[in-house]
Symmetry: C2
Subunit: 303 residues, 2 copies
Protein backbone atom coordinates (compact mmCIF):
# COMPACT_ATOMS: atom_id res chain seq x y z
CA UNK A 1 0.00 0.00 0.00
CA UNK A 2 1.10 3.53 -0.77
CA UNK A 3 3.35 5.28 1.75
CA UNK A 4 5.12 8.33 0.43
CA UNK A 5 6.40 11.76 1.40
CA UNK A 6 5.99 14.76 -0.91
CA UNK A 7 8.38 17.60 -0.13
CA UNK A 8 6.54 20.92 -0.45
CA UNK A 9 9.39 22.97 0.96
CA UNK A 10 12.93 22.02 1.94
CA UNK A 11 14.52 25.37 2.73
CA UNK A 12 15.16 27.01 6.06
CA UNK A 13 14.30 30.43 7.46
CA UNK A 14 13.42 32.41 4.31
CA UNK A 15 12.13 31.27 0.93
CA UNK A 16 14.64 31.38 -1.92
CA UNK A 17 14.16 31.28 -5.67
CA UNK A 18 14.53 27.46 -5.58
CA UNK A 19 13.09 26.53 -2.21
CA UNK A 20 10.08 27.11 -0.02
CA UNK A 21 10.42 26.72 3.73
CA UNK A 22 9.36 23.51 5.46
CA UNK A 23 6.20 21.61 4.61
CA UNK A 24 5.62 17.98 3.65
CA UNK A 25 2.66 15.76 2.95
CA UNK A 26 2.82 12.14 4.04
CA UNK A 27 0.33 9.85 2.32
CA UNK A 28 -0.23 6.50 3.92
CA UNK A 29 -3.01 4.11 2.95
CA UNK A 30 -5.18 6.98 1.73
CA UNK A 31 -4.57 9.19 4.74
CA UNK A 32 -2.89 12.56 4.14
CA UNK A 33 -0.84 14.06 6.95
CA UNK A 34 0.62 17.55 6.62
CA UNK A 35 3.84 18.14 8.54
CA UNK A 36 4.65 21.81 9.02
CA UNK A 37 3.05 24.54 6.97
CA UNK A 38 5.35 27.37 5.94
CA UNK A 39 4.22 30.38 3.95
CA UNK A 40 3.17 29.27 0.47
CA UNK A 41 2.19 25.73 1.48
CA UNK A 42 -1.27 26.06 -0.06
CA UNK A 43 0.31 27.14 -3.36
CA UNK A 44 2.76 24.23 -3.14
CA UNK A 45 -0.07 21.78 -2.55
CA UNK A 46 -1.75 23.05 -5.68
CA UNK A 47 1.46 22.88 -7.71
CA UNK A 48 1.93 19.30 -6.56
CA UNK A 49 -1.68 18.43 -7.36
CA UNK A 50 -2.58 17.41 -3.82
CA UNK A 51 -6.20 18.16 -3.00
CA UNK A 52 -5.83 19.73 0.36
CA UNK A 53 -9.32 18.90 1.49
CA UNK A 54 -7.96 15.35 1.85
CA UNK A 55 -5.77 16.54 4.70
CA UNK A 56 -7.41 16.01 8.08
CA UNK A 57 -4.35 16.10 10.33
CA UNK A 58 -1.69 18.80 10.53
CA UNK A 59 1.43 18.48 12.68
CA UNK A 60 3.42 21.64 13.44
CA UNK A 61 6.86 20.87 14.81
CA UNK A 62 7.50 24.27 16.41
CA UNK A 63 6.63 27.93 16.23
CA UNK A 64 9.41 29.33 14.10
CA UNK A 65 7.78 31.11 11.20
CA UNK A 66 9.36 28.99 8.49
CA UNK A 67 7.29 26.09 9.86
CA UNK A 68 3.86 27.65 10.38
CA UNK A 69 3.32 31.01 8.66
CA UNK A 70 1.27 29.31 5.93
CA UNK A 71 -1.19 27.68 8.33
CA UNK A 72 -3.62 30.58 8.59
CA UNK A 73 -3.90 30.81 4.80
CA UNK A 74 -4.34 27.05 4.53
CA UNK A 75 -7.11 27.10 7.16
CA UNK A 76 -8.77 30.10 5.57
CA UNK A 77 -8.73 28.68 2.04
CA UNK A 78 -10.16 25.36 3.25
CA UNK A 79 -13.07 27.36 4.62
CA UNK A 80 -13.55 29.39 1.43
CA UNK A 81 -13.54 26.20 -0.61
CA UNK A 82 -16.36 24.77 1.42
CA UNK A 83 -14.76 22.46 3.94
CA UNK A 84 -17.12 21.21 6.62
CA UNK A 85 -15.29 18.18 8.06
CA UNK A 86 -13.14 18.82 11.13
CA UNK A 87 -9.42 19.49 10.95
CA UNK A 88 -7.03 18.24 13.62
CA UNK A 89 -3.99 20.34 14.43
CA UNK A 90 -1.18 19.10 16.68
CA UNK A 91 1.00 21.96 17.83
CA UNK A 92 2.23 24.15 20.62
CA UNK A 93 -0.72 25.60 22.48
CA UNK A 94 0.19 29.16 21.49
CA UNK A 95 -0.66 28.40 17.88
CA UNK A 96 -4.35 28.24 18.65
CA UNK A 97 -4.24 31.79 19.98
CA UNK A 98 -2.38 32.98 16.88
CA UNK A 99 -4.89 31.42 14.51
CA UNK A 100 -7.99 32.46 16.43
CA UNK A 101 -6.82 36.05 16.77
CA UNK A 102 -6.45 36.29 13.00
CA UNK A 103 -9.82 34.69 12.31
CA UNK A 104 -11.52 36.97 14.80
CA UNK A 105 -9.85 40.06 13.37
CA UNK A 106 -11.41 39.41 9.99
CA UNK A 107 -14.79 38.40 11.42
CA UNK A 108 -14.30 34.92 9.96
CA UNK A 109 -16.40 32.11 11.35
CA UNK A 110 -15.16 28.81 9.98
CA UNK A 111 -17.74 26.36 8.70
CA UNK A 112 -15.66 23.49 10.08
CA UNK A 113 -14.24 22.70 13.49
CA UNK A 114 -10.60 22.77 14.35
CA UNK A 115 -9.65 20.24 17.00
CA UNK A 116 -6.53 21.44 18.72
CA UNK A 117 -4.11 18.93 20.24
CA UNK A 118 -1.29 20.21 22.41
CA UNK A 119 2.16 18.74 21.92
CA UNK A 120 4.22 17.46 24.84
CA UNK A 121 7.97 17.77 24.90
CA UNK A 122 8.90 15.19 27.52
CA UNK A 123 9.08 11.90 25.65
CA UNK A 124 7.21 9.89 23.05
CA UNK A 125 3.47 10.54 22.81
CA UNK A 126 0.85 9.00 20.59
CA UNK A 127 -1.01 11.67 18.64
CA UNK A 128 -3.04 9.63 16.20
CA UNK A 129 -4.21 6.06 16.04
CA UNK A 130 -6.42 4.06 13.73
CA UNK A 131 -6.66 0.49 12.49
CA UNK A 132 -3.43 0.58 10.54
CA UNK A 133 -1.54 3.79 11.29
CA UNK A 134 -0.07 5.48 14.34
CA UNK A 135 1.56 8.88 14.67
CA UNK A 136 3.82 9.83 17.57
CA UNK A 137 5.65 12.94 18.64
CA UNK A 138 9.03 12.99 20.32
CA UNK A 139 11.19 15.86 21.53
CA UNK A 140 13.90 17.50 19.45
CA UNK A 141 16.53 19.85 20.82
CA UNK A 142 16.08 23.32 19.37
CA UNK A 143 15.96 26.94 20.56
CA UNK A 144 12.25 26.72 21.35
CA UNK A 145 10.09 23.67 22.20
CA UNK A 146 10.13 21.41 19.15
CA UNK A 147 8.84 17.97 18.24
CA UNK A 148 9.75 15.42 15.65
CA UNK A 149 7.10 13.02 14.36
CA UNK A 150 6.91 9.31 13.63
CA UNK A 151 4.32 8.02 11.20
CA UNK A 152 4.18 4.27 11.15
CA UNK A 153 2.15 1.33 10.05
CA UNK A 154 0.84 -0.87 12.80
CA UNK A 155 2.04 -4.43 13.10
CA UNK A 156 0.03 -6.41 10.59
CA UNK A 157 -1.55 -9.84 11.15
CA UNK A 158 0.25 -13.06 10.28
CA UNK A 159 -0.81 -14.68 7.00
CA UNK A 160 -2.61 -18.03 7.30
CA UNK A 161 -1.28 -20.59 4.83
CA UNK A 162 -4.24 -21.58 2.70
CA UNK A 163 -3.30 -25.27 2.41
CA UNK A 164 -3.09 -25.51 6.21
CA UNK A 165 -6.63 -24.20 6.63
CA UNK A 166 -7.79 -27.15 4.53
CA UNK A 167 -5.37 -29.68 6.02
CA UNK A 168 -6.39 -28.94 9.62
CA UNK A 169 -9.93 -27.72 8.84
CA UNK A 170 -9.17 -24.70 11.05
CA UNK A 171 -12.35 -23.52 12.77
CA UNK A 172 -13.41 -19.94 12.04
CA UNK A 173 -13.48 -19.01 15.70
CA UNK A 174 -9.71 -19.63 16.02
CA UNK A 175 -8.66 -17.67 12.92
CA UNK A 176 -8.32 -14.21 14.49
CA UNK A 177 -6.24 -15.52 17.38
CA UNK A 178 -3.98 -17.45 14.99
CA UNK A 179 -3.46 -14.34 12.86
CA UNK A 180 -2.35 -12.61 16.08
CA UNK A 181 0.21 -15.39 16.72
CA UNK A 182 -1.64 -18.08 18.76
CA UNK A 183 -1.10 -21.75 18.11
CA UNK A 184 -3.92 -23.84 16.62
CA UNK A 185 -5.63 -26.17 19.10
CA UNK A 186 -6.93 -29.35 17.50
CA UNK A 187 -10.14 -30.92 18.81
CA UNK A 188 -8.13 -33.41 20.92
CA UNK A 189 -6.22 -30.52 22.52
CA UNK A 190 -3.02 -30.99 20.52
CA UNK A 191 -1.38 -27.68 19.69
CA UNK A 192 -0.03 -26.93 16.20
CA UNK A 193 2.69 -24.28 16.41
CA UNK A 194 1.68 -20.97 14.83
CA UNK A 195 4.70 -20.80 12.55
CA UNK A 196 3.68 -24.10 10.94
CA UNK A 197 0.37 -22.67 9.71
CA UNK A 198 1.21 -18.98 9.12
CA UNK A 199 3.86 -16.85 7.50
CA UNK A 200 5.22 -13.64 8.96
CA UNK A 201 3.35 -10.45 8.08
CA UNK A 202 5.02 -7.95 5.77
CA UNK A 203 7.34 -5.76 7.79
CA UNK A 204 5.89 -2.45 8.90
CA UNK A 205 7.21 0.82 7.56
CA UNK A 206 8.00 3.93 9.54
CA UNK A 207 8.73 7.53 8.58
CA UNK A 208 10.63 9.73 11.03
CA UNK A 209 10.74 13.51 10.71
CA UNK A 210 13.44 15.51 12.53
CA UNK A 211 13.49 19.22 11.84
CA UNK A 212 14.82 21.46 13.45
CA UNK A 213 17.37 20.14 15.92
CA UNK A 214 20.92 20.44 17.12
CA UNK A 215 22.91 17.18 16.96
CA UNK A 216 21.51 15.16 19.84
CA UNK A 217 21.90 11.40 20.25
CA UNK A 218 18.91 11.34 22.58
CA UNK A 219 16.76 11.35 19.46
CA UNK A 220 18.16 7.99 18.29
CA UNK A 221 15.95 5.89 20.55
CA UNK A 222 12.80 7.39 19.07
CA UNK A 223 13.68 6.86 15.42
CA UNK A 224 15.45 3.48 15.70
CA UNK A 225 15.13 1.31 12.57
CA UNK A 226 12.92 3.79 10.71
CA UNK A 227 12.39 2.95 7.06
CA UNK A 228 12.96 6.56 6.08
CA UNK A 229 14.40 9.34 8.20
CA UNK A 230 14.12 13.00 7.22
CA UNK A 231 16.74 14.86 9.22
CA UNK A 232 17.61 18.50 8.85
CA UNK A 233 21.06 19.33 7.50
CA UNK A 234 21.04 23.09 7.54
CA UNK A 235 24.80 23.43 7.10
CA UNK A 236 27.87 21.81 5.59
CA UNK A 237 30.09 20.45 8.34
CA UNK A 238 32.61 23.30 8.03
CA UNK A 239 29.92 25.47 9.64
CA UNK A 240 29.67 23.21 12.69
CA UNK A 241 30.04 26.14 15.09
CA UNK A 242 27.26 28.04 13.34
CA UNK A 243 25.10 24.91 13.54
CA UNK A 244 25.67 24.69 17.30
CA UNK A 245 24.93 28.38 17.86
CA UNK A 246 21.63 28.17 15.98
CA UNK A 247 20.64 24.71 17.29
CA UNK A 248 20.78 23.16 13.85
CA UNK A 249 22.65 20.17 12.38
CA UNK A 250 25.29 19.65 9.73
CA UNK A 251 25.27 17.05 6.95
CA UNK A 252 27.73 14.85 8.85
CA UNK A 253 25.63 15.07 11.99
CA UNK A 254 22.41 14.15 10.19
CA UNK A 255 24.17 11.18 8.61
CA UNK A 256 25.63 10.11 11.95
CA UNK A 257 22.17 10.11 13.53
CA UNK A 258 20.91 8.00 10.61
CA UNK A 259 23.75 5.56 11.17
CA UNK A 260 23.28 5.34 14.94
CA UNK A 261 19.54 4.83 14.47
CA UNK A 262 20.10 2.13 11.86
CA UNK A 263 17.52 3.62 9.51
CA UNK A 264 17.19 2.27 5.98
CA UNK A 265 17.33 5.59 4.17
CA UNK A 266 18.08 9.20 5.04
CA UNK A 267 16.69 12.31 3.36
CA UNK A 268 18.35 15.59 4.23
CA UNK A 269 16.75 19.03 3.93
CA UNK A 270 16.17 22.40 5.64
CA UNK A 271 19.17 23.81 3.80
CA UNK A 272 20.47 27.24 4.65
CA UNK A 273 19.62 29.87 2.03
CA UNK A 274 23.38 30.32 1.51
CA UNK A 275 23.49 27.10 -0.56
CA UNK A 276 22.13 27.56 -4.05
CA UNK A 277 23.64 24.19 -5.02
CA UNK A 278 22.80 21.54 -2.44
CA UNK A 279 24.65 18.65 -4.10
CA UNK A 280 27.75 19.19 -1.91
CA UNK A 281 25.54 18.71 1.16
CA UNK A 282 24.32 15.39 -0.23
CA UNK A 283 27.82 14.26 -1.10
CA UNK A 284 29.12 15.15 2.34
CA UNK A 285 26.30 13.29 4.10
CA UNK A 286 26.98 10.21 1.95
CA UNK A 287 30.54 10.00 3.23
CA UNK A 288 28.98 8.88 6.52
CA UNK A 289 25.68 7.31 5.43
CA UNK A 290 25.66 6.04 1.87
CA UNK A 291 21.90 5.65 1.44
CA UNK A 292 21.17 9.36 1.66
CA UNK A 293 18.96 11.37 -0.68
CA UNK A 294 18.31 15.09 -0.73
CA UNK A 295 14.97 16.79 -0.41
CA UNK A 296 13.95 19.16 -3.20
CA UNK A 297 10.65 20.98 -3.54
CA UNK A 298 8.23 18.70 -5.35
CA UNK A 299 10.29 15.54 -4.86
CA UNK A 300 8.45 12.41 -3.72
CA UNK A 301 10.04 9.69 -1.60
CA UNK A 302 8.37 6.30 -1.57
CA UNK A 303 8.73 4.46 1.71
CA UNK B 1 10.54 60.80 -12.74
CA UNK B 2 9.54 57.20 -12.30
CA UNK B 3 6.05 56.47 -10.95
CA UNK B 4 4.88 52.91 -11.45
CA UNK B 5 2.80 50.16 -9.93
CA UNK B 6 3.97 46.53 -9.97
CA UNK B 7 1.16 44.03 -9.43
CA UNK B 8 2.39 41.22 -7.16
CA UNK B 9 -1.05 39.65 -6.79
CA UNK B 10 -4.36 40.44 -8.45
CA UNK B 11 -6.59 37.60 -7.22
CA UNK B 12 -9.17 37.57 -4.48
CA UNK B 13 -9.70 35.32 -1.47
CA UNK B 14 -7.56 32.29 -2.33
CA UNK B 15 -4.50 31.95 -4.53
CA UNK B 16 -5.03 30.21 -7.87
CA UNK B 17 -2.58 28.66 -10.31
CA UNK B 18 -2.39 32.01 -12.16
CA UNK B 19 -2.89 34.56 -9.42
CA UNK B 20 -1.67 35.47 -5.97
CA UNK B 21 -3.94 37.46 -3.68
CA UNK B 22 -3.54 41.21 -3.34
CA UNK B 23 -0.19 42.97 -3.08
CA UNK B 24 1.33 45.81 -5.08
CA UNK B 25 4.48 47.88 -4.99
CA UNK B 26 4.27 51.52 -5.93
CA UNK B 27 7.59 53.13 -6.84
CA UNK B 28 7.66 56.89 -6.92
CA UNK B 29 10.83 58.96 -7.17
CA UNK B 30 12.89 56.19 -5.56
CA UNK B 31 10.42 55.52 -2.75
CA UNK B 32 8.88 52.04 -2.57
CA UNK B 33 5.43 51.69 -1.01
CA UNK B 34 3.91 48.26 -0.46
CA UNK B 35 0.12 48.13 -0.59
CA UNK B 36 -1.34 44.99 0.97
CA UNK B 37 0.71 41.91 1.62
CA UNK B 38 -1.03 38.62 0.92
CA UNK B 39 0.56 35.23 1.50
CA UNK B 40 3.45 34.79 -0.91
CA UNK B 41 4.24 38.51 -1.25
CA UNK B 42 7.87 38.01 -0.30
CA UNK B 43 8.22 35.35 -3.02
CA UNK B 44 6.49 37.64 -5.52
CA UNK B 45 8.85 40.50 -4.66
CA UNK B 46 11.77 38.19 -5.39
CA UNK B 47 10.24 36.97 -8.65
CA UNK B 48 9.74 40.57 -9.72
CA UNK B 49 13.29 41.49 -8.70
CA UNK B 50 12.26 44.11 -6.19
CA UNK B 51 14.69 44.35 -3.30
CA UNK B 52 12.33 44.43 -0.41
CA UNK B 53 14.72 46.17 1.92
CA UNK B 54 13.92 49.27 -0.17
CA UNK B 55 10.38 49.20 1.20
CA UNK B 56 9.99 51.45 4.23
CA UNK B 57 6.21 51.93 4.21
CA UNK B 58 3.52 49.27 4.13
CA UNK B 59 -0.20 50.05 3.80
CA UNK B 60 -2.70 47.33 4.68
CA UNK B 61 -6.19 48.14 3.42
CA UNK B 62 -8.06 45.77 5.76
CA UNK B 63 -7.77 42.59 7.75
CA UNK B 64 -9.13 40.00 5.37
CA UNK B 65 -6.46 37.36 5.02
CA UNK B 66 -5.97 37.77 1.29
CA UNK B 67 -4.59 41.24 2.05
CA UNK B 68 -2.27 40.61 5.00
CA UNK B 69 -1.37 36.94 5.61
CA UNK B 70 2.05 37.50 4.01
CA UNK B 71 3.01 40.37 6.31
CA UNK B 72 4.47 38.28 9.12
CA UNK B 73 6.72 36.40 6.70
CA UNK B 74 7.77 39.65 5.05
CA UNK B 75 8.62 41.20 8.44
CA UNK B 76 10.44 38.09 9.56
CA UNK B 77 12.53 37.72 6.41
CA UNK B 78 13.52 41.40 6.53
CA UNK B 79 14.90 40.68 9.99
CA UNK B 80 16.72 37.52 8.92
CA UNK B 81 18.29 39.40 6.03
CA UNK B 82 19.75 41.99 8.36
CA UNK B 83 17.38 44.93 8.22
CA UNK B 84 18.06 47.57 10.84
CA UNK B 85 16.20 50.62 9.50
CA UNK B 86 12.66 51.15 10.78
CA UNK B 87 9.58 49.95 8.94
CA UNK B 88 6.33 51.93 8.96
CA UNK B 89 3.07 50.01 8.83
CA UNK B 90 -0.28 51.71 8.33
CA UNK B 91 -3.14 49.39 9.26
CA UNK B 92 -5.99 48.54 11.55
CA UNK B 93 -4.76 48.53 15.12
CA UNK B 94 -5.49 44.81 15.52
CA UNK B 95 -2.72 43.97 13.09
CA UNK B 96 -0.07 45.00 15.57
CA UNK B 97 -1.37 42.45 18.05
CA UNK B 98 -1.41 39.74 15.39
CA UNK B 99 2.18 40.39 14.37
CA UNK B 100 3.54 40.80 17.89
CA UNK B 101 1.88 37.61 19.12
CA UNK B 102 3.59 35.65 16.35
CA UNK B 103 6.97 37.23 16.96
CA UNK B 104 6.70 36.60 20.69
CA UNK B 105 5.65 32.99 20.17
CA UNK B 106 8.86 32.26 18.31
CA UNK B 107 11.04 34.28 20.71
CA UNK B 108 11.93 36.60 17.84
CA UNK B 109 13.32 39.99 18.71
CA UNK B 110 13.52 42.13 15.58
CA UNK B 111 16.69 44.06 14.97
CA UNK B 112 14.64 46.93 13.53
CA UNK B 113 11.72 48.97 14.81
CA UNK B 114 8.23 48.77 13.46
CA UNK B 115 6.38 52.07 13.67
CA UNK B 116 2.68 51.33 13.73
CA UNK B 117 0.21 53.88 12.36
CA UNK B 118 -3.48 53.33 12.95
CA UNK B 119 -5.86 53.91 10.06
CA UNK B 120 -8.97 56.06 10.43
CA UNK B 121 -12.15 55.27 8.56
CA UNK B 122 -13.97 58.59 8.74
CA UNK B 123 -12.63 60.63 5.85
CA UNK B 124 -9.37 61.48 4.11
CA UNK B 125 -6.24 61.33 6.26
CA UNK B 126 -2.65 62.08 5.42
CA UNK B 127 -0.42 59.10 6.26
CA UNK B 128 2.88 60.11 4.71
CA UNK B 129 4.43 63.34 3.62
CA UNK B 130 7.81 64.36 2.27
CA UNK B 131 9.19 66.99 -0.08
CA UNK B 132 7.57 65.57 -3.17
CA UNK B 133 5.13 62.81 -2.21
CA UNK B 134 2.01 62.48 -0.09
CA UNK B 135 0.01 59.39 0.80
CA UNK B 136 -3.58 59.54 2.04
CA UNK B 137 -6.12 57.02 3.22
CA UNK B 138 -9.85 57.24 2.60
CA UNK B 139 -12.70 54.95 3.56
CA UNK B 140 -14.05 52.18 1.37
CA UNK B 141 -17.30 50.36 1.97
CA UNK B 142 -16.63 46.71 2.75
CA UNK B 143 -17.70 44.08 5.29
CA UNK B 144 -15.04 45.17 7.78
CA UNK B 145 -13.27 48.55 8.18
CA UNK B 146 -11.32 49.14 4.98
CA UNK B 147 -9.28 51.96 3.49
CA UNK B 148 -8.24 52.90 0.01
CA UNK B 149 -5.01 54.81 -0.56
CA UNK B 150 -3.92 57.77 -2.65
CA UNK B 151 -0.27 58.18 -3.54
CA UNK B 152 0.40 61.48 -5.21
CA UNK B 153 3.09 63.87 -6.21
CA UNK B 154 2.99 67.26 -4.58
CA UNK B 155 2.31 70.32 -6.64
CA UNK B 156 5.57 71.30 -8.28
CA UNK B 157 7.01 74.81 -8.68
CA UNK B 158 6.37 76.92 -11.76
CA UNK B 159 9.24 77.04 -14.25
CA UNK B 160 10.98 80.39 -14.67
CA UNK B 161 11.53 81.28 -18.34
CA UNK B 162 15.29 81.69 -18.76
CA UNK B 163 15.10 84.61 -21.21
CA UNK B 164 12.86 86.52 -18.76
CA UNK B 165 15.42 86.20 -15.97
CA UNK B 166 17.89 88.02 -18.23
CA UNK B 167 15.35 90.48 -19.65
CA UNK B 168 14.16 91.65 -16.23
CA UNK B 169 17.38 90.85 -14.32
CA UNK B 170 15.17 89.11 -11.76
CA UNK B 171 16.72 89.41 -8.28
CA UNK B 172 17.55 86.12 -6.54
CA UNK B 173 15.49 87.02 -3.48
CA UNK B 174 12.29 87.02 -5.57
CA UNK B 175 12.87 83.70 -7.37
CA UNK B 176 11.33 81.34 -4.81
CA UNK B 177 8.19 83.45 -4.50
CA UNK B 178 7.84 83.66 -8.30
CA UNK B 179 8.18 79.85 -8.58
CA UNK B 180 5.32 79.64 -6.11
CA UNK B 181 3.19 81.95 -8.33
CA UNK B 182 3.92 85.52 -7.19
CA UNK B 183 4.28 88.35 -9.68
CA UNK B 184 7.66 89.98 -10.23
CA UNK B 185 8.00 93.44 -8.70
CA UNK B 186 10.35 95.71 -10.64
CA UNK B 187 12.49 98.27 -8.78
CA UNK B 188 9.99 101.05 -9.57
CA UNK B 189 7.17 98.96 -8.07
CA UNK B 190 5.67 97.90 -11.40
CA UNK B 191 4.35 94.33 -11.26
CA UNK B 192 5.05 91.83 -14.05
CA UNK B 193 2.38 89.11 -14.09
CA UNK B 194 3.66 85.69 -13.09
CA UNK B 195 2.40 84.00 -16.23
CA UNK B 196 4.52 86.28 -18.39
CA UNK B 197 7.75 85.06 -16.78
CA UNK B 198 6.94 81.42 -15.90
CA UNK B 199 5.38 78.37 -17.44
CA UNK B 200 3.06 76.01 -15.60
CA UNK B 201 4.70 73.15 -13.71
CA UNK B 202 4.31 69.64 -15.06
CA UNK B 203 0.99 68.26 -13.87
CA UNK B 204 1.14 66.12 -10.78
CA UNK B 205 0.33 62.44 -10.96
CA UNK B 206 -1.83 60.50 -8.57
CA UNK B 207 -2.42 56.77 -8.01
CA UNK B 208 -5.65 55.69 -6.32
CA UNK B 209 -6.11 52.19 -4.90
CA UNK B 210 -9.62 50.88 -4.18
CA UNK B 211 -9.83 47.29 -3.01
CA UNK B 212 -12.10 45.87 -1.56
CA UNK B 213 -15.38 47.76 -1.81
CA UNK B 214 -18.99 47.54 -2.76
CA UNK B 215 -20.11 50.05 -5.43
CA UNK B 216 -20.21 53.33 -3.56
CA UNK B 217 -20.22 56.76 -5.17
CA UNK B 218 -19.01 58.30 -1.93
CA UNK B 219 -15.53 57.20 -2.96
CA UNK B 220 -15.56 59.42 -6.06
CA UNK B 221 -14.68 62.62 -4.22
CA UNK B 222 -11.49 61.06 -2.87
CA UNK B 223 -10.14 59.77 -6.16
CA UNK B 224 -11.27 62.60 -8.46
CA UNK B 225 -9.00 63.13 -11.48
CA UNK B 226 -6.51 60.44 -10.48
CA UNK B 227 -3.98 59.60 -13.16
CA UNK B 228 -4.42 55.89 -12.52
CA UNK B 229 -7.16 54.20 -10.56
CA UNK B 230 -6.93 50.57 -9.42
CA UNK B 231 -10.45 49.47 -8.60
CA UNK B 232 -11.49 45.96 -7.69
CA UNK B 233 -13.75 44.13 -10.15
CA UNK B 234 -14.26 40.83 -8.40
CA UNK B 235 -17.20 39.79 -10.60
CA UNK B 236 -18.68 40.10 -14.06
CA UNK B 237 -21.82 42.22 -13.95
CA UNK B 238 -24.14 39.21 -14.24
CA UNK B 239 -23.09 38.42 -10.66
CA UNK B 240 -24.22 41.81 -9.40
CA UNK B 241 -26.25 40.26 -6.56
CA UNK B 242 -23.26 38.20 -5.44
CA UNK B 243 -21.16 41.37 -5.53
CA UNK B 244 -23.63 43.17 -3.29
CA UNK B 245 -23.85 40.29 -0.83
CA UNK B 246 -20.08 40.11 -0.46
CA UNK B 247 -19.48 43.88 -0.56
CA UNK B 248 -17.51 43.68 -3.77
CA UNK B 249 -17.83 45.36 -7.17
CA UNK B 250 -18.48 44.24 -10.72
CA UNK B 251 -16.59 45.29 -13.84
CA UNK B 252 -19.34 47.72 -14.84
CA UNK B 253 -19.34 49.25 -11.37
CA UNK B 254 -15.58 49.72 -11.31
CA UNK B 255 -15.73 51.36 -14.72
CA UNK B 256 -18.60 53.60 -13.65
CA UNK B 257 -16.62 54.82 -10.65
CA UNK B 258 -13.67 55.54 -12.99
CA UNK B 259 -15.96 57.54 -15.24
CA UNK B 260 -17.59 59.49 -12.41
CA UNK B 261 -14.18 60.28 -10.94
CA UNK B 262 -12.84 61.39 -14.32
CA UNK B 263 -9.64 59.37 -13.91
CA UNK B 264 -7.25 59.02 -16.84
CA UNK B 265 -6.86 55.26 -16.69
CA UNK B 266 -8.48 52.36 -14.84
CA UNK B 267 -6.84 49.07 -13.87
CA UNK B 268 -9.18 46.33 -12.68
CA UNK B 269 -8.19 43.40 -10.45
CA UNK B 270 -9.11 41.29 -7.41
CA UNK B 271 -10.79 38.78 -9.71
CA UNK B 272 -12.82 35.97 -8.25
CA UNK B 273 -11.08 32.59 -8.47
CA UNK B 274 -13.96 31.40 -10.66
CA UNK B 275 -12.48 33.29 -13.64
CA UNK B 276 -9.52 31.50 -15.16
CA UNK B 277 -9.76 33.80 -18.19
CA UNK B 278 -10.08 37.44 -17.11
CA UNK B 279 -10.30 38.95 -20.59
CA UNK B 280 -14.13 39.02 -20.50
CA UNK B 281 -13.91 41.16 -17.35
CA UNK B 282 -11.67 43.62 -19.17
CA UNK B 283 -13.93 43.73 -22.19
CA UNK B 284 -16.99 44.31 -20.06
CA UNK B 285 -15.35 47.15 -18.12
CA UNK B 286 -14.31 48.79 -21.40
CA UNK B 287 -17.92 49.05 -22.52
CA UNK B 288 -18.24 51.75 -19.85
CA UNK B 289 -14.70 53.10 -19.55
CA UNK B 290 -12.57 52.61 -22.63
CA UNK B 291 -9.17 53.30 -21.09
CA UNK B 292 -9.22 50.25 -18.85
CA UNK B 293 -6.41 47.75 -18.38
CA UNK B 294 -6.38 44.55 -16.40
CA UNK B 295 -4.03 43.67 -13.58
CA UNK B 296 -2.00 40.47 -13.92
CA UNK B 297 0.64 39.19 -11.54
CA UNK B 298 3.96 40.73 -12.55
CA UNK B 299 2.44 43.43 -14.75
CA UNK B 300 3.80 46.96 -14.38
CA UNK B 301 1.72 50.09 -14.96
CA UNK B 302 3.57 53.34 -15.57
CA UNK B 303 1.75 56.39 -14.27
Amino acid sequence: MSFKVTILGCGSATPTAQRNPTAQVVELHGRFFLIDCAEGTQMQLRRNKINFQHIDHVFISHLHGDHFFGLIGFISSMHLWGRIKPLHIYANEKLREIIELQLNSSDSLLRYDINWHTLNYDGKHKLYDDKTVEVFSFPLNHRIPTCGFLIQEKQKERNLIHSKIIQYDIPIDQINAIKQGSDLLLEDGTPVPNDEITTAPPSTRCYAFCSDTIYDENVVKYIKDATLLYHEATFMHNLLERAKETYHSTTIQAATIAQLANVQQLVIGHYSARYSDTLPLLEEARTVFANTQMAMDGRIFEI
